[in-house]
Symmetry: C2
């Protein structure tokens, strides 16, 4: 049974709750804050809006969310306990003492701490081997990074199991080799924060100018390649060693300056808070969260298309979820060939909507094209086949929009082969949300030789599979709307 | 006359050359390196592949690129001279002395330096008031950020003119308020670089793990909101002051540690170079550049759709370029109403292609939808009208793919109104690359009331404009393929 306990709600605990819930886990929450349910509800509502459509395959059904009055009750049956209480070591250790009295002996305990090392958390605990740092990044429901930090008291199988659970909820466990203050990423955040405070304090730039210096320049670079790979590219064909020889020593001069820490005075706090109000005060935090999530989803989906970075991680997740979503890879796996085939099962992502507040027209064709790709895969026209020089090109498309659909809604496409013979493949896609018909797509495709770019017969095994499916579908009634022209009477 | 002189080629000078050229400037290059022409050619080829399709409006015709044997010849007629020679102050000052003897008195001189302050560059120059720092970021042809740094000797009009030229080539001039070592962004890069060297040296993480810690977490956040706005969101409704009170002091503890600089030994260089080879050695630098550019274009275009960050900058550029690209905003601006209207003039962007190596089918509908949006705009169905509650929804679409097109190619759509009366709008789009017909799109749209989501008559001024256009187009012959159904004989 997949059950997680969330000890401490708030933005981080709520983000963990959303990750587990939307990946099919039951989630049991303990948080003494009377506002905890509302706060977690707000995070969940952001997560439900953005995460399910991030990938191209439907997530499992949501788990059950329950709130509990005691730690003892919350950890019941939990395989993973995530602690996100305030950053006070005495408080954390008190929480571990209590929860370890009640949780399963083999339950794993992850701490969201950024300030403590795992050895500090484990100190004095009887069952210390089950405690690790699992440090997430806000928004936890979208960003995949988890810094997983253990000590020598954590056996190999505990780390392996922790990685498995973190991967299973769509995240990336970065196993930090040795514990260190602030783990990895926060050390960078801190270094940049320190420089930024100096720049504002000394009147070199405002908070907005600093944000622009980041997001119009290296921020976009880092989003996809990080630091070292970016510099490798900058170094050119001569390689990383050349880059370091050229730029490494130059960097030492400024290193000797401004290494001290700006004093954290009220004046500095006011200066920064005022500039931040001027920069972003026209948006509420809720608005900023949604703007941020729209951007993160759009950028991660752009990287998915390139199978790179955070997008490549998402593609691995999608692939792993296909079976559960009912999406097959070969017609031999189809039980009943006589019915239209499920070729798409996904959630409408945030970047598929337009100014009219619904899924925009070109994304209907995007969805139908994904269905066509699935049908091609089913008949053996897969990546390997395409690399060998054969593929199908769409010659003609006719889409009828029957009803609207919105971001976050679940859509399915079922596909009927109207004709499959020789070079021709004539498909009929129907898009549904549950029983509600949203659109139909009629498509004529031709098999082509990718070298000559002209139509040519498919390989025998591809044609045989297509004919098999077309023959089985021939007994189906002709779909309503087949062969219609625009403006023709119904 | 728009002429720029590029003094010093290489990756940075080449990037500047590409920015100017692709925005219609003539570019004159001086670089004594016998390989300069090849090196700039390689950067240009990357730039031509990625930049023209970044926005949704065609760029002007490319300027002329010439190479010159002397600085004197290269700066002839240049309004902007960009210096990107090696980072040696004596060399830079020698270059300025020579070029200021030959360039126009009012020519602006921008330096790509990251290591020198403008006061250092200006020192001892007779015409120092024309010299500024204009520090770009690699790849210069895609990243919009320019740190523009001057001193008290630069008059206000010099800075204003520099901003105008930088904006005119699609970049963002960030005017740094006071000069400081390493300007703004490089201070952050340096701080992170220093921390990263420690982490690798101490065996906490490999170069690949560090890159993953960045690109699966805060790197994606920073790409769209930078540092301060990200923290403002993290602070929640309580605001930036609350965030600083909560997290500011916590950060001071690690600040006291590891503030010294790791020694730049051969061992450290080897360690990092070896790890980098393991991480990225399977890709050549050229491959990595193209992967990077694909990602940057995809992410920036995702942000354009949200009108945010670097994407919002791009949208401003697009808007400014519409007129030159022949795209109008109201039918009253159309000279000859009797011909099909130009509704799209753009370059196929990198993210519009698929595994078959050509523009993917859903992007044809994306392009046609942009054409429909343009036609709506022309008849007065603009953002303001839509906000008031009326819009057109597409009911039916029929696309015929006539020929292939590839990323980087220029496409135009011309639109004929087949029927425009009452709630109905029947459009015929033809997509061309030059004279080559690529596809036709036939679309039936209905005017809707956005409150009821049901069809309803448009406002009088919208209907009148549509009828005017439909009446003028009624004399055109019926397009070949109009009203065709899929599979119907021609």
């Amino acid at each position: 049974m997949k059950t997680a306990a969330i000890i401490g709600g708030g933005v981080i605990g709520g983000g963990w709750a959303a990750r587990f819930l939307l990946n099919g886990w039951d989630v049991r929450v303990f948080d003494p804050d009377p506002e905890a349910e509302r706060k977690i509800g707000e995070v969940l509502s952001n997560a439900r809006r953005s995460l399910p459509g991030l990938g191209n395959v439907a997530l499992p059904a949501e788990g059950a969310l329950t709130f509990h009055a005691t730690i003892a009750e919350a950890v019941e049956g939990a395989a993973w306990v995530q602690e996100s209480v305030p950053e006070r070591l005495d408080l954390k250790q008190k929480v571990y003492a209590e929860l370890q009295q009640h949780c399963a002996e083999d339950a794993l305990i992850g701490s969201s701490t950024s300030g403590f090392k795992p050895s500090e958390l484990q100190e004095g605990r009887g069952n210390a081997s089950r405690i690790v740092v699992a440090h997430p990044f806000n928004p936890v429901y979208l960003l995949p990074l988890i810094e997983l930090v253990g000590t020598h008291v954590n056996p190999v199988d505990v780390i392996a199991r922790a990685k498995e659970i973190i991967s299973g909820i769509g995240m990336y466990p970065l196993h930090v080799r040795k514990e260190i203050d602030a783990h990895i990423a926060d050390r960078f955040l801190e270094a940049v924060w320190r420089e930024a405070l100096w720049l504002v304090k000394d009147g070199i730039a405002s908070t907005e100018e600093i944000d622009n210096a980041i997001r119009y320049g290296f921020g976009i670079r880092w989003a996809q390649m990080g630091l070292f790979e970016t510099y490798r590219v900058a170094g050119g064909e001569a390689g990383m060693k050349h880059f370091m020889a050229q730029f490494g020593p130059c960097l030492t001069a400024p290193w000797t300056k401004l290494m001290d820490v700006p004093e954290f005075t009220d004046e500095l706090v006011d200066l920064i808070a005022d500039q931040s109000d001027e920069q972003s005060g026209m948006h509420s935090i809720r608005e900023l969260e949604r703007i941020r999530d729209d951007n993160l989803v759009g950028m991660m989906r752009a990287m998915s298309a390139n199978d790179w970075g955070a997008g490549a991680l998402q593609n691995v997740q999608d692939k792993a979820r296909e079976g559960e979503a009912g999406l097959l890879s070969h017609i031999d796996q189809i039980g009943d060939l006589s019915k239209p085939v499920l070729t798409l099962n996904r959630t409408v992502p945030l970047d598929w909507t337009d100014y009219n507040g619904h899924m925009t027209e070109s994304r209907y064709l995007d969805a139908f094209a994904q269905s066509t790709d699935r049908l091609m895969l089913l008949i053996g026209c897969d990546a390997e086949y395409i690399a060998s020089g054969g593929s199908y090109f769409t010659a003609e498309t006719h889409i009828r929009h029957i009803d609207e659909v919105h971001a976050g809604h679940s859509i399915q496409v079922r596909t009927q082969v109207i004709l499959g013979a020789g070079k021709k493949m004539h498909l009929w896609h129907e898009m549904y949300e549950g029983d509600r018909l949203l659109a139909t797509g009629e498509h004529m495709l031709l098999h082509v030789d990718l070298a000559t770019r002209r139509s040519a017969p498919p390989a025998e095994h591809v044609e045989a599979a297509l004919v098999k499916l077309a023959t089985a579908h021939a007994a189906l009634p002709a779909p309503d709307g087949l062969g219609r022209a625009i403006g023709a009477p119904r």
